[in-house]
């Protein structure tokens, strides 16, 4: 199975995401922001970083990159897409996920080992977790505060599309402690914390993040 990992100018966690894909047993395929097609991949990871410096607004410039056209098209067709941090911000800007991510309530960049509850295990990226599982993976961002209109949040909650929730403290003031959400069909998932930094206890707080990259293997095979 091939999983594409996109690099925009300013993407930082692409090598980590590719490593996580490898650890999970899949083949990472490097996708460049200027690519017009997805090189035959079965799923796509939009990794973290500061694409285009995040100067205007996190994700605002990257969403217009050529590679995003096939990504949006494939996602609408059911291809699994995972947006991590800046990737999540890009997916929101691109309209694949609702809401927006604003400056952390504390106004500082926050990097900490964060406990998350897995609220939904029927997405392409969380099938391997137990319902309600608590996992520890790093959160690190400047603009991680999830915000949306009340009706949007009600819809997300009502349809069970909140995939991850912060527990033991909300690092950025997100509405409803929301750390990650999914599209209605559960194929597109975006989250602020970084599963690709939690694949090995040597270099991360746990190996809990590997579950996301493993889950997608099952979801595509099925």
């Amino acid at each position: 199975m091939k999983i594409g990992v996109i690099t925009f100018p300013g993407t930082l966690d692409d090598i980590d995401a590719a490593r996580a894909v490898r650890y999970a047993g899949a083949e990472p395929v490097a996708l460049w922001h200027g690519d017009e097609d997805l090189r035959g991949v079965d799923a796509v990871v939009v990794p973290g970083g500061f694409s285009y410096g995040d100067y205007l607004r996190a994700g605002a410039i990257a969403r217009f990159a050529p590679v995003m056209t096939p990504v949006v098209e494939a996602a609408r067709g059911g291809m699994p897409v995972l947006g991590i941090c800046n990737g999540f911000q890009i997916l929101c800007e691109a309209g694949l996920l609702p809401g927006a991510l604003l400056r952390n309530a504390g106004l500082h960049f926050v990097c900490r080992d964060q406990t998350l509850r897995v609220e939904r295990t029927t997405t392409a990226w969380t099938g391997g977790y137990a319902d309600g599982a608590e996992i520890v993976i790093p959160v690190k961002n400047m603009d991680g505060r999830f915000a949306a209109e009340k009706s949007t949040v009600d819809e997300l909650e009502g349809e069970g599309r909140v995939v991850f929730r912060y527990v033991n403290g909300n690092p950025n003031g997100s509405l409803g402690e929301i750390a990650g959400i999914s599209s209605a069909d559960g194929r597109v998932v975006g989250l602020m914390p970084h599963p690709e930094h939690a694949i090995d206890a040597l270099t991360g707080p746990s190996a809990d993040g590997l579950g996301m990259f493993r889950s997608v293997l099952g979801s595509v095979a099925a």
Binding site: L56, A60, C92, L102, R103, R145, A147, E149, G173
Partner: protein, 79 residues
């Protein structure tokens, strides 16, 4: 050539921690009488006369601001 100013502000119902931090700091610095502060972005564009208002609105709405969370205003200054 015209100068165009676009101001982008967080929607009133969206929490604005940056503005709040300023409002909280002012009394500490000895400035009283400021009851509320909101912080947004200010853009100044040098624009060709060929660019019409509709295009400017598109740029402001579709790119310089995110309508989910922000409002914007566009002003032309001088000509």
């Amino acid at each position: 050539m015209a100068r165009v100013v676009v101001d982008v502000m967080p929607k009133p119902e969206i929490l604005d921690p940056q503005g709040q931090a300023v409002a909280r700091a002012l009394p500490r610095l000895g400035f009283t009488g400021i009851s509320d502060v909101r912080q947004g972005k200010h853009f100044e564009l040098e624009v060709d006369d060929s660019v019409d208002d509709e295009t400017l609105a598109k740029i402001a709405e579709g790119f310089l601001s995110n309508p989910v969370i922000e409002d914007f205003t566009v002003r032309r200054i001088g000509a």
